[in-house]
Symmetry: C2
Amino acid sequence: MLSNQLLNKVTWKIPNALALVGSASGETWNGMTTSWITQLSMEPVLIGIGVDNSAVTHRLISEGGSFTVNLWDPADKRVFVKFSKPAVRRGTTLNDRQVRIGKTGAPIFEDAIAYMDCQVRYAWDMGTHTLFIGEVVDAGIRDDTIRAAAMSDTRMKYGGVKRGGH
Amino acid sequence: MLSNQLLNKVTWKIPNALALVGSASGETWNGMTTSWITQLSMEPVLIGIGVDNSAVTHRLISEGGSFTVNLWDPADKRVFVKFSKPAVRRGTTLNDRQVRIGKTGAPIFEDAIAYMDCQVRYAWDMGTHTLFIGEVVDAGIRDDTIRAAAMSDTRMKYGGVKRGGH
């Protein structure tokens, strides 16, 4: 018997990344905490991210055609809860974090330890989430000594079955 | 300038899982170390895995229409190198690890701390790898006290740009 409880427990065990995804449509920018991230091809280098269909980021990536993946210092965890809601833009900041616009038009966080700037090649609606697959057209490493944050660095969980108001 | 070296370095920083993927076509069974794994939808619960187009596992999943994701104890790391090559089946073992056939027909490792048995719903060739997306139709947890292994538990790396003979 495959209960929702078991589905939650087992999927929460999958070791996930924890990063900020940047997106933009015109003057509307956002950053969103994201854990469903994986590379999907080596030639070209493609990165896939799963984004909730109801998220602001879903609209911005759909309109803007690009996204950034910003890997983060695990010591700077406060961002992950903060960026679980739509971010507040002031000038060139999102939630008071400095960003700059990358080659694809999506914002890159200056505080990221490393980033990938991705042009969307495919977008597939999987049900509750859309898989955006982007080619890495630009990338950078700010600090090569720090490992990137993972979900397991926090007490957060993401995944499992759909819940009311998720 | 986006060099192959930078693409390798930045993609290797993405925190990945490290698990064994089970697959079967008729009497041919395999288990393969896999790190490109993420959930992709909550309703239905879909899991995506990226599998090298030249891998035995690619053929078996394509033919068998299913796969299992076997999460592993990080203290039992030897399997990951061992299962980087096609596994040797003897009876109901793969590389001397006991397996049983799950609901979908794919093998489940008895040593896994948890498993997801997935029926393939979509398969998309991304270039070097195919993204197999499966619905979790059965799952189990053998030991709920152990966290699942991640790539960072080893010195292994996977991803980046394609290399000769990869």
